[in-house]
Amino acid sequence: MASGVSGYAAISTRVRAMYSDLLTPQDVVRLSDAPDFSALVGALKGTPYGKYLSGLKESEMTPRRVILQIRNRLADSYSSVVQQAPEQTRPLVRQLFRYFEVGNLKAVLRSIQTVSSWNSEVALWDRVREVLFPFGSFSTIPAQAMVETGSIVSAVELLRGSPYESTMSFAMKRYSAEQNLFPLEVALDLDYWRRLWGEVKNLKGKDREMGGKLVGSLLDLNNLMWVIRYKIYHNLSEEELINYTLPFGYRVRDEDVRAIAAGTDIASVVSRIYPDLHDVNALLERPQAGLPKLEHLLKQQVMRQCVSAFIGDPFHIGLPLAYLLLSDFEIQDLVVLIEAKSSKLSDEEFRPLLLKTTLIQ
């Protein structure tokens, strides 16, 4: 306990202070009341995101640029938590942060694939970097150099020495044969989550318990959505579904994944895992609209886990992890708002997609 208190005193104080700076559900409602994109940006300037937007000129206030700027706050939060987290938990926080680098890596590969299929000679980097997460000095991938190679094979060669080298060397054999990014992306995802879970298992005591709960819940969400989507949209076989998913998590067990892969009714499995979710059958009847809703409901479950981490003993890694995940969910909400306002979507179309406002109920 003493080492927990001494290790977490500063960071839990800091995280609580940062937590109080997150937007409240009422703030999100207020932001969603903004009549248009520029009013939304104006309102955002009055929030803790204001300092990230203050450097932008009027002409730069594009939805994509604003999203990039507000993501800087999440990057700063990660950077702050990584620096202050106790030594033994830093690998876990760093690996959690790497989620965005994996996202960047996928975006880079997609951009190369898209342009090479268009056979365009447009210099792409300026457009690509706007959609990348501002990973800063933590990044281990030479994104610009990769984009400039113009070919997947050459780009992947530049990953030599990075944490992705081994995974990509196996997956590239399949890419060469299939000329499809799917195997690369699946391999990256599986490797990411395996490493993250491995870092959780390296912890001890309360850290391990809370890490398992939060990371496991997030993993459940991904694992479950993978197996459902691969089955419904890609029509993959049982053995492929098993190989493209993971056998661990918090509530989702390997037997659940295997049951779905073997053809058991998906709704019954989901209802067994999450008894408090209603109308799962109805959601899965029309997967095109239902699956995003199901994912939304599962994200709410994770969010509630994160909020509950702030109750009780604060001397464990759960608090910083929960704060980082909540920050990410908050930015997902803001991205929904920015895209909705810039595309002039009606309230009915975007409000159900907001995560934070569900905490009001």
Binding site: R174, A187, S237, Y244, P247
Partner: protein, 668 residues
């Protein structure tokens, strides 16, 4: 000292002919924080030639880095690196081409030979696990009833692959255990070949593909491969030696070229962000006012026709775009770090570092008052600061030294040394030490009351600083109706008088300040209600002063919701005022607890001053310094972050990041 350095905005109109010289001065002094002013330029001038140059320099820099990496040279600049001017691309590019060509020839050979070697070694590795199997390679592929897959798989995927094949008859061998790339062999009925193949493929199993020309048994093939590998290794070491030789012969040239290209790239990047007009360039940036005169005179030395306009940024008003340069004082560094963890000060606001340098040791010392233990901490801190022990923790060492000095001072006031107090000092240490102020263990309630008084003073100071910041920022709405504005301050004073002076006035804990307030002939009850109304509807009044919509979020829940929220605001304010004030009671409580902990050590040590007694006292003191010292540090930090800084400090300032060319400065 109390504020970030005063900054001046500089706007230059630079004639095209002096562009490079001015860019060199701006980049070379490490005091100019550039603002992107490209948008001030004329759009009809077409793409800037400097954009192209910046790209070209960047490319050249990357090529040079790659060359240096190939020949095994570290990226270093010449020892006496001077800033000349931007390098002429037509001169420098052929030089880079020439060296690159020379290096590329050798490195391409090396690369292809390494690939061949890698392939040969991989083929050898593939065969080694089955080296003792006396069968013709390829025979497995020709079986009529069995389907066989032999290949390399990521180690992490093996379990999952086995799980995926649970419902299919098969045998699974791991031929080579390897943490990264084990070799496995799956054998099953040919009728299930599609399932086996799909499972293997989705587990990223890469089947071994040996070339058709490999005939014979695995043993024969491996012998042949080993001979080829030996030859290939000789070729590789020959090429590596050639590259190393090239590195030695071109070292000086490469370092000089890299330096020239590097500074040219930095200057070109800076120039790209200048606004280009027909014959001139507009340059905008920020400079600490103290460095302004020196910089402008240097600019005028290189360009007589340059127009310089400067404007010092006033401290009042909003200055979110002004970069903030903090004064560098090594004695304040630990407090700057503590403040930095909370936030970077913004330009117009007070830098709380100096305040924290006073209050942090003060509160720490008050909680951990012990002359002997304080002096031990002081010595420990000085040793850490001077890198004699625990190197790399100089700032923490300095903080410990400050806190130790303060603890020693309070120990003198409390009459406490290594836990000995009162008659114990004379009995065991044989000298006289009387408390010069107060003995916490004997005056528990007085100490707690003084602590609350001290807290009230600090909180009032926090309110005043917040108001001061609001006045400087001309934020009248928050000055009057903010959470730490005038109305909230007056409400707090009335609250102190009514609650602490009146309600708790007869208790021994009643703070003197509250009692003094309560004795004033003022109707504090009525005043509390009046100021309470302003606090309750603070948002409404702020909107009124700022000319915004009076009731925010009126649509959600209507007026009733607004009222509920306002009342909740009042309740929250009351609770936080009560808890903030009482929070400082911990300062007194820890001073008392310190004495209590020492008593516990004494009861463990016994009464007879033998060796065991002194060992127990020494270990107990070490425990107190380590354990209680840490907890008091946490409490002090908590008091600052929650109760003090939150009152007046917002942070969120833009960091000052000047252009720099000098390699030594860049490294620092």
């Amino acid at each position: 000292m109390f504020f970030p350095k005063e900054m001046s905005e500089v706007e230059l109109i630079v004639p095209s002919k002096d562009l490079v010289a001015v860019a060199k001065v701006l980049s070379g002094h490490g005091v100019f924080h550039q603002i992107d002013s490209a948008y001030l330029g004329q759009e009809n001038l077409g793409p800037s030639v400097w954009q192209e140059k910046a790209g070209a320099y960047s490319l050249l820099e990357r090529r040079l880095q790659s060359i240096m990496q190939n020949v095994g040279l570290a990226e270093e600049y010449p020892v006496k690196a001077e800033v000349e001017s931007v390098a002429d691309l037509d001169v420098i590019r052929p030089k880079v081409d020439r060296v690159e060509e020379e290096v590329k020839r050798v490195s391409d050979n090396l690369l292809s030979e390494r690939k061949r070697l890698e392939l040969l070694e991989s083929q050898l590795r593939q065969l080694e696990p089955i080296a003792d199997v006396n069968v013709e390679v390829g025979a497995l592929r020709k079986s009529s009833f069995m389907h066989s897959i032999l290949g390399v798989i990521p180690a992490a995927n093996i379990t999952r692959l086995k799980t995926s094949l649970l419902r299919v008859p098969h045998v699974f061998f791991t031929l080579r255990e390897d943490a990264q790339k084990p070799i496995v062999w799956i054998l099953g009925p040919r009728s299930n070949s599609d399932v086996l193949d799909r499972a293997a493929k989705s587990a990223y199993l890469n089947p071994l593909n040996l070339p058709d020309e490999f005939g014979g048994t695995p043993e024969q093939i491996t012998a042949m491969l080993r001979r080829e590998i030996e030859l290939s290794k000789q070729q590789v070491s020959g090429s590596e030696a050639d590259l190393a030789q090239l590195g030695i012969s071109h070292k000086n040239d490469l370092q000089k070229l890299l330096w020239e290209v590097h500074i040219s790239r930095i200057m070109a990047d800076a120039i790209v962000r200048f606004g280009q007009l027909r014959h001139t360039f507009v340059v905008v940036g920020w400079v600490p006012t103290a460095a302004l005169e020196d910089l402008t005179s240097k600019i005028k030395e290189v360009s007589r026709e340059v127009l310089i306009e400067t404007m010092t940024a006033g401290r009042s008003g909003h200055h979110t775009n002004v970069p903030v340069a903090l004064s560098e004082n090594k004695w304040l560094k630990p407090f700057q770090m503590l403040v930095g963890t909370y936030g970077h000060p913004s330009y117009g606001e007070l830098d709380p570092t100096l305040l924290m340098a006073f209050t942090f040791p003060l509160l720490y010392g008050a909680m951990f008052g012990d002359l002997g233990q304080g002096l031990v901490m002081l010595v420990l801190g000085v040793l850490m600061h001077n890198k004699i022990i625990l190197k790399g923790m100089q700032s923490l060492g300095l903080l410990i030294a400050y806190c130790g000095a303060s603890a020693a001072f309070f120990g003198y006031l409390y009459g406490s040394i290594f836990g000995f107090e009162g008659h114990l000092v004379e009995e065991y240490l044989h000298f006289h030490l009387e408390p010069t102020w107060i003995a916490p263990m004997e005056n528990i309630l007085s100490v707690l009351s003084v602590a609350i008084d001290a807290g009230i003073v600090i909180l009032i100071f926090g309110f005043l600083l917040s108001m001061f910041n609001n006045i400087r920022g001309r934020d009248w709405a928050h000055l009057l109706f903010g959470h730490a504005g005038i109305m909230a301050f007056l409400f707090y004073l009335s609250f102190l008088a009514v609650v602490f002076g009146g309600f708790f006035g007869s208790t021994a804990l009643a703070p003197k300040i509250a009692l003094a307030l309560y004795s004033l002939p003022l109707p504090f009850g009525t005043l509390m209600i009046v100021f309470g109304v302003f606090v309750t509807f603070g948002g409404f009044f702020r909107n009124m002063v700022e000319g915004h919509t009076l009731i925010e979020g009126k649509g959600i829940g209507g007026f009733a919701m607004f009222l509920v929220q306002s009342v909740m605001d009042l309740v929250e304010t009351l609770i936080s005022m009560l808890s903030n004030t009482l929070s400082f009671i911990r300062v007194g409580a820890f001073a008392v607890a310190h004495g209590g902990l020492s008593l516990a050590i004494f009861s463990l040590a016994g009464e007879k001053p033998d060796v065991g007694f002194w060992i127990t006292i020494a270990i107990g003191n070490l425990f107190i310094i380590g354990f209680e010292g840490l907890i008091v540090g946490i409490q002090t930090m908590r008091l600052h972050y929650y109760e003090i800084l939150g009152k007046f400090f917002h942070g969120g300032g833009l960091q000052f990041e000047p252009l720099k060319l000098s390699p030594s400065r860049e490294e620092s």
